[in-house]
Structures are given as structure tokens and as C-alpha cells.
Amino acid sequence: MSDRLVVNKTYKQFIGGAFERSESGRSYPVAGAGGELLANAVQGSRKDVRDAVAAARSAQAGWAGRTAYNRGQILYRVAEVMESRRDEFSAEVARAGDGCSYEAAAQETAAAIDRWVWYAGWADKFSTVLGGANPVAGPYFNLSVPEPVGVVGMVAPDEPPLLPLVSRLAPVIVSGNTAVVLASERCPLVAITLAETLALSDVPSGVVNILTGHRNELVPPLAGHVAVDSLDLTGCDAELAADAARQAAATITRVVSASAAERQWADESAQSPYLIDAFCETKTVWHPKGR
């Protein structure tokens, strides 16, 4: 061993492809299982929410405009880069929240990587499975295709810190949505490490934006934002979810939350093409047939 002092990482929010502190200048301490300080996380503000939504909005058309093949390759690239930093993720998961063994953390990390791979493969297939030709009673071509809803506001569950976040995020962005994610309030650090991975994986800036802070403060501006098209409130308790849903109603924003089966994070029931569909619109095209 040497006496060398470790260089600690500063965990910042991820907005529009950049790592930034809050415009509010605030932070909050994140503690490990023994109460020790792991790091200070950014305590994001309403304005940070607005900046993140703006970044997501402006990135959305470009991301949806990529070919499905390209989006699939980029999601697969996320898995590749996560795999190369597997030890780092595992160590971070192990000391987050109540803590767990390194082996359990490594399993969670591996499952998160595999989930990216699984959804990467859906990029150029979900339209085939969820869409299709409709045999209408007349001389018309009629085709339905799923299209991304737009900007999705997401609230990640507190624990476990990594797998639920990936399980909810991957099906949202694979179709061409962009996301504003509130990381786990209690275990936000690994979400920022995930953001670093995304930044290195050819995911375009603004496609995923990750905020840290207090849910009670950040969910209302996210839920009420007119540029947010859909909400995943999986990480909200019942009361906060109900409040958010009431706000979302004003802008006809659809609200989604993980089902009990989907909350079995390590199981296959937590992944589904219908979860991709939950954040899509169905567009139907009619065209006459005739000489």
C-alpha cells in the first residue's frame, strides 16, 4: 500500500450531455449503510427540471429520426461500455443504500447490462410485433405503426439503485423517446455513473437527462411541464404519484407506473415490448388503392 490519497469523484447532474451542478448551488449528503458520507449529490431545482426538459425536447426529433438499426446499435454500445466498467458499477451498487454483498451487486450489474442488450434488439423489431397491416373493408392500404410519444419524465425507485433505473429507461428511449429521469433520492450516485456511461456510448446529448435531488421538490414541476408527454411514476409513493397524476391531467399527459410483475426487477417479467408500447402512440395510415 502507499500513502496516496484517493481522488474523489464529484457527482453532478447530467443535462443536455453535460455534467453540471444545480443552478441553485445546492447539494445534499448521500450516506452509506453505516451512515458514512459517500459523496454529496446535487440537489436539483425546478429550474434544473426545466433545463432538462428543454434539452430532452430539442434532442427528441433527432433521436427518433435515427434509424432503428442505429438506435439498436447505440443501446448495445451502452451494454458494451457498462460491461467494461462492471467492477466500478458493482462496487458502487454494493455500498449504496442499505448496502449488499459485492456478489449480489455484481449480479444486479450483470442483469442491468443484459437488459440493455435485450432492449437493443427490440429497436428494429417492436414495430413488427406491435404494428401491422389492418385489413379494412375497402380498397385501402391501412397500416398501423407505433411511434414514440416524445419526452418522458421518469421517477426512478429508491432501491435497488441500478437495475430498476435501467429497466424503466431502456424501453423508453429505444423507440425514440427522450427522457428526464429523477434518480433515486437515497441512492443517486450510481445513476450518475450510468450517465457517464451513456455519454461514452454514442447516446446523443439530451436523449437521457438525469437529475438528483428531492422528489417532493422535483416531481411537481416535472409532472406539470407542458413539454412532458408521458410520465413514469414508478419511484413515487402513492401520495406523490396521485398528486403528480392530477397535475399531469391538466396537460393530458399519460401516466405509467410499474406493475407488481414489472417490479420483480431481476425477473424476465420486468422486461417487455409492451413496456415500449406504453410510451408510444399508434399511428394509422390510410391510402387508397386504384389505377
Binding site: 439498436g72 448495445y76 442488450v117 435485450w118 427490440w122 428494429d124 423489431k125 413488427t128 415490448p273 389505377r291
Partner: protein, 495 residues
């Protein structure tokens, strides 16, 4: 030549000015050829039982690139046994998510070595480097990537049923898109959990053998894919082998018929992707400059050695002269020659035998009274080359309107009404593809409904994508490759 420009004096009058391109040859440095190649059996390159070798020829020079093993029945037997052992020894029971990871690795390794594969494909097969670089190799990688994603999603491809693998698939592929056809065959078969014995075409074995390296680097379990090179006898032995559960063939209708007869009564599953004589149908309202490019791409892409080539142009009478005139002017600018040159549009014909067949059919067209147009172009002194050719005054009874030429030869026919276009388009035993050119969307869809063809391109031609099914009606075969439909030939659906 460029004398006129270099003197800096007179400006060339319009129409009397031709652009000459300096040679832009692609380097062959990325390719490391061995002098001899064995068979890929059980994860190892091994000698054939007989030790027989045959040269594989660079069709642009006529010179041998390497000697490749000629498998016989004993080798085929070993290959099928290796595939069976790998399948029963674990491949069939591997979770889909793990099969997916192998296929993703193959896709990535192909992407990484794309340049090497492209140059080798062009050296061994004669197609322009621009095509192997921009189409064959990237599409092959994309195909592996696409089917990797299905490997762990088969439950969603066939809702209500479980998809079980068939066992050992025998796959016999042609020489016109060697690596791409290997990918079309291997990717869905492996995604569905089958083991494979692949038989490349005799004239183009080298990229399949290079793919064996990739499969090994991907750590694919030994025996899951076996590659036997050889002549038609090796293919026949493979198809007839009792240890094979599924046969997939791409090639001529004549051989497809023989394979169908061979497989009959054995219980083996069979899919066939055979010949074609596609109609490219041009209506008078079409955007004629785009049409010209589309027709040229349709017939001269890969020198017309494409089963879905748009080899019959059906053009509405009122615009026939205009279209033919535009075509002839465009043909004058096509560059025929060294396939490794980045400026080349039409490379070498794959073999002397194929060149002879093309020449024979072109001679029959002239003899039967059709009018031949070929641009004045200087063909290389060695190697197998054919200039782009266009026939007018073609009747539907002419051999050049009925038989698949598989070369850069276009037959032009005319029509007056949409009904007549439909009748003429469908007037062949084939049914692989069709092209429709019109600005009227409703007419595209009306025509598409009436085409006896597995793929219909509208205002485009020769588009391929892993997500899009490909395959023919009638004597162009049965079964589909690509898309969700491409999984079905490789699974048994059980409750």
C-alpha cells in the same frame, strides 16, 4: 481525354466532353491469403478426407487466388456429425440471451474487419469494391445484429406457441453475394438454436472461410457452424445426408427442383430462394430521371448477377422512346472494369461459365430479332467481363424475355394499360420481385396487389434490409429470409 482541359485554351462544347477518371484502386493490403484452405469442421480448419483441392479464381484476372478443399461425402458426414454433436451437446439448450450474445459478437467482429472482407469479396467474386464495401459487408453484419436480437425474443415472434429449433440445417449458398448469403442463412438459423453445415459456392469460398475465423474469435462453440467447400457433388451430398433436419438453398430454379425432389419424403424442412425475371414497370407519369437511375441500379447492380434483378423493363408506350434514350445515355457513362477500382460500376462476371451463358443468351436475342444496344467501352484484356446491354423490340416470347440471364442485360417491352402491365409482368414462371414507377400512390398499391412477386419495390429497386422479408412466389421458391418471417423456416412451433 483531358487534353482539352490541360491546354487551358478552348472550352469543350456541350455534349463533346467526357470525364475520364484516374484509377482509384483499392489496396489489397488488408487481405492475407493462404495458399491452401481446409474445411471448417468442429471449430477447426482441417484437411478434407481426400486431400483434393481446387483453385478459386479471381474473375477480374483469371488467376488463381488460392486452393480450396473439395469436400466429398466423407467430409460432409463429418460436418453433419460435428453439427449434431454441438447441437445435442448444449447449443440447443443454451438460453436465447446467450445465443444472442454470440451473434452480437459476430456482428461486431464483421464490422471491425469490414474492409478486409470487402476487398476479399471483390477479389474472389469480381463485384465492384463500392458494392462489397457499401452493401454486402455492412448488410451481412446488420443481419447478424438483427437476428441476434430475435434469439431471446422468439416468444414474441410466435405468440401462443413456443419456438423450438429443428436441429441441423444444411445451407447451400450462391456466388453472387457470398458473405451476405452466408449471413442470411446463418443468422436466423443460429438465432433459433439450430446448428449448421454451410456449403459456399465453388467459385466464391474465401469470405465464408474468413468468416470461420470470425466465428472462432467470437468463441462460438465448436461444431455449431461447419463450413464445407467443394463442388456441386458436395452440395448434393449435404442435402441428401440423413442427419440433416432442414435444407435451405439459394441458387438456380433448376437445382432447386432437384433438391425438392431429393428432399421429398424425407421429412426434412425445405426453403428455396431461386431465380427471377423481375419486371420493372414504368408509367408515363413517373419521374423519368429517377426512373433511369432506378432501372440502371435494378439491372446493372452486381452486373445483373442478382436473382431479383429488374431484367425486364415494362415501359408505358407513350414514354418508351424517352426512357430508352435516357437509359442509353446513362449506360454510356457506366464504367466497366477492375472491380477493385473505386470508380467501377460494373465489375467482372463471376466465372467463365457464367460469361458464356450470358453471351449465349445475348446472341439468341440478336438471332430472334431483338435490337441490341451496348455502349462503346473498352473491356480489360484478361478476366471475365461483359458490357452493359439493352435490348429493344423484344417480344414476350423471346428467350431474353423469358429466361433468367443473370448478367448485365436488360430487355425492354412496352404496355398501354395498367391491366396489360400486370399481365405482362406476371407472364413468367418466376415471382421474386417487381418494380413500379409512378407518382400516383393509389396505382402503386393497386399494382402491388396484383404482382405475383414476393417483393415489390415502388419508385426504388434492389433495397435490402434485415428487417424486411425477402423471397419469391411460384418458381422463385418458397420461404422468406429477413424480418420476423425469416425465423419461421428455422423453428418448429410447439404448444
Amino acid at each position: 481525354m483531358t487534353d482539352r482541359l490541360s491546354t487551358g485554351g478552348e472550352v469543350a462544347p456541350t455534349g463533346d466532353f467526357s470525364l475520364e477518371y484516374a484509377p482509384a484502386p483499392e489496396s489489397t493490403a488488408p487481405v492475407r491469403l493462404a495458399s491452401q484452405y481446409g474445411l471448417f469442421l468442429g471449430g477447426e480448419m482441417v484437411e478434407s478426407a481426400s486431400g483434393r483441392l481446387a483453385p478459386t479464381i479471381n474473375p477480374a484476372t483469371g488467376e488463381a487466388l488460392a486452393e480450396v478443399s473439395v469436400a466429398d461425402a466423407a467430409d460432409v458426414d463429418r460436418a453433419v456429425a460435428a453439427a449434431r454433436a454441438a447441437w445435442e451437446g448444449g447449443w440447443r439448450d443454451l438460453p436465447g440471451a446467450e445465443r444472442a450474445k454470440y451473434l452480437y459478437r459476430v456482428a461486431r467482429l464483421l464490422q471491425e474487419r469490414a474492409r478486409e472482407f470487402a476487398v476479399l469479396e471483390t477479389m474472389d467474386g469480381g463485384k465492384p469494391i463500392r458494392e462489397s464495401r457499401d452493401l454486402d459487408i455492412p448488410l451481412a453484419a446488420a443481419h447478424f445484429f438483427y437476428y441476434a436480437g430475435w434469439a431471446d425474443k422468439l416468444d414474441y415472434a410466435f405468440s401462443g406457441r413456443r419456438a423450438a429449433p429443428l436441429g441441423v440445417a444444411a445451407q447451400v449458398i450462391p456466388w453472387n453475394f457470398p458473405l451476405l448469403m452466408a449471413a442470411w442463412k446463418l443468422a436466423p438459423a443460429l438465432a433459433c438454436g439450430n446448428a449448421v453445415v454451410l456449403k459456399p459456392a465453388p467459385t466464391t469460398p474465401l469470405t465464408a472461410l474468413l468468416l470461420a475465423e470470425v466465428l472462432r474469435d467470437a468463441e462460438l462453440p465448436p461444431g455449431v457452424v461447419n463450413i464445407v467447400t467443394g463442388d456441386d457433388a458436395a452440395g448434393a451430398a449435404l442435402v441428401a445426408h440423413p442427419g440433416v433436419d432442414k435444407v435451405a438453398f439459394t441458387g438456380s430454379t433448376e437445382v432447386g427442383r432437384a433438391i425438392g425432389a431429393e428432399v421429398a419424403g424425407t421429412g426434412k424442412r425445405l426453403t428455396l430462394e431461386l431465380g427471377g425475371k423481375a419486371a420493372n414497370i414504368v408509367f408515363d407519369d413517373a419521374a423519368l430521371d429517377q426512373v433511369t437511375e432506378g432501372i440502371v441500379n435494378g439491372i446493372y447492380f452486381n452486373g445483373g448477377q442478382v436473382c431479383c434483378a429488374g431484367s425486364r423493363l415494362l415501359v408505358q408506350e407513350t414514354v418508351a422512346d424517352t426512357v430508352v434514350g435516357k437509359l442509353q445515355r446513362r449506360m454510356d457513362t457506366l464504367r466497366v472494369g477492375d472491380p477493385l477500382d473505386n470508380n467501377t460500376d460494373i465489375g467482372a462476371i463471376n466465372s467463365q461459365a457464367q460469361l458464356d451463358r450470358i453471351s449465349e443468351l445475348v446472341a439468341s436475342g440478336v438471332a430472334e430479332g431483338a435490337e441490341l444496344y451496348t455502349p462503346q467501352c473498352v473491356l480489360p484484356e484478361r478476366g471475365f467481363f461483359h458490357p452493359p446491354a439493352l435490348f429493344t423490340n423484344v417480344s414476350t416470347a423471346h428467350r431474353i424475355a423469358q429466361e433468367e440471364i443473370f448478367g448485365p442485360v436488360l430487355s425492354v417491352l412496352t404496355f398501354r394499360t395498367a391491366e396489360e402491365a400486370v399481365a405482362k409482368a406476371n407472364n413468367t414462371p418466376y415471382g421474386l420481385s417487381a418494380g413500379i414507377w409512378t407518382e400516383k400512390g393509389s396505382r402503386i398499391l393497386w399494382m402491388a396487389d396484383r404482382m405475383q412477386a414476393g417483393v415489390v419495390w415502388a419508385n426504388t429497386f434492389n433495397r435490402f434490409d434485415p428487417a424486411s422479408p425477402f423471397g419469391g412466389y411460384r418458381e422463385s421458391g418458397y420461404g422468406r429470409e429477413g424480418g420476423r418471417a425469416g425465423l419461421l423456416p428455422y423453428v418448429e412451433l410447439v404448444a
